[in-house]
């Protein structure tokens, strides 16, 4: 009997979770969406920090604008476009994948590829220039070296 009471009181602890007021549950969803959008926007008065991470007044006010616009039903893209229309591309932490910005996105990989090709060509030339050793040119191991190797090997035993 006592055990059953414990179980019931334990379950009651979590019972309220399902009965949260609707607006409060919406609030947390809105929080999460605000965070997702705010993390893509640069705090304009900080050093490479998003408006979500920054404690600056301007960042706080921008987060509020993001939240209000999401609550009004705007999409994250619409909100990003709004900030871009006011602050330019600079406001976006990730440059958009369009126009000259493709250079930023693909540039490092293109350079890596070009570097790799150059490295390959240069190495191949070096290898081609170095004459291969033929078996008949190899010198037999002389007696002194053979003895030394055997002694070294013995010292491991």
């Amino acid at each position: 009997m006592k055990k059953a009471l414990w179980v019931i009181s334990f379950l009651l602890l979590f019972a309220h979770a399902g009965t949260l007021p609707a607006e409060l549950r919406d609030e947390t969803a809105l929080d999460a969406r605000t965070r997702d959008v705010a993390k893509t926007l640069r705090c304009t008065v900080c050093q490479n920090e998003s408006i979500w991470d920054s404690k600056a007044d301007l960042a706080r006010q921008m987060r509020e604008v993001v939240r209000e616009r999401l609550a009004q039903g705007q999409s994250p893209e619409e909100i990003q476009a709004y900030f871009q229309s006011r602050y330019g591309d600079y406001i976006l932490l990730e440059p958009t994948k369009s126009g000259m910005n493709w250079l930023l996105w693909t540039g490092p990989f293109v350079l890596l590829g070009v570097g790799g090709i150059i490295l390959y060509l240069v190495l191949r030339r070096w290898v081609a220039r170095t004459p291969a050793i033929r078996m008949e040119e190899l010198q037999p191991l002389d007696e002194a070296h053979r003895k030394r190797i055997e002694e070294e090997l013995k010292s491991f035993d």
Binding site: T44, V45, L58, Q61, M62, V65, S85, Y87, G88
Partner: protein, 183 residues
Amino acid sequence: MKGWHVATIVVILGIIGLFYAGLGRDPRSIPSVLVGKEAPVFSGPDVQSGEILALDAYKGKVIVLNFWASWCQECRLEHQNLLAIHRQFRNYPDFVMLGIDYQDQPGDAIVFLNSFGSTYPHVRDIKGTIAIDYGVYGVPETFVIDSHGMIRFKYVGPIVGPVYTQITDQIIRPLLEGKELQR
């Protein structure tokens, strides 16, 4: 292989040239996307009277919009110049000057205006939304809006020195006299 050498040298020189050109630029200057665009509308309470002021009420006028705050040192520096701009053009029927008080305590703003002087209205930007709508980074920033409601000029920093004559002689006066801006 000689072609390769030449190409490499050209690329390296190109990169050096790019960096060198960047040295001469102001790292803080970011071109405003708002110049040439329609001025965002706004409304808010007057700092001193509390009466609601709206940009819409000034349609067809040339508007100088100055974002400031009482805690901002550079705003103190430019304040007398702003009053001088207002004095210079106040007799033009189509001239309007508005201050936007940004991230400020109302009491502090009133003390600032009482001690340094105020001849034109100031709007309180309570939640910072007017500033964000105008892409403001920090105060002071000054905008000039033409009679068609287009933003024609933006300046970040105090209106002191050569900028003062630039804004009065090359921006405000031509706009008031219906002339094209020389750029």
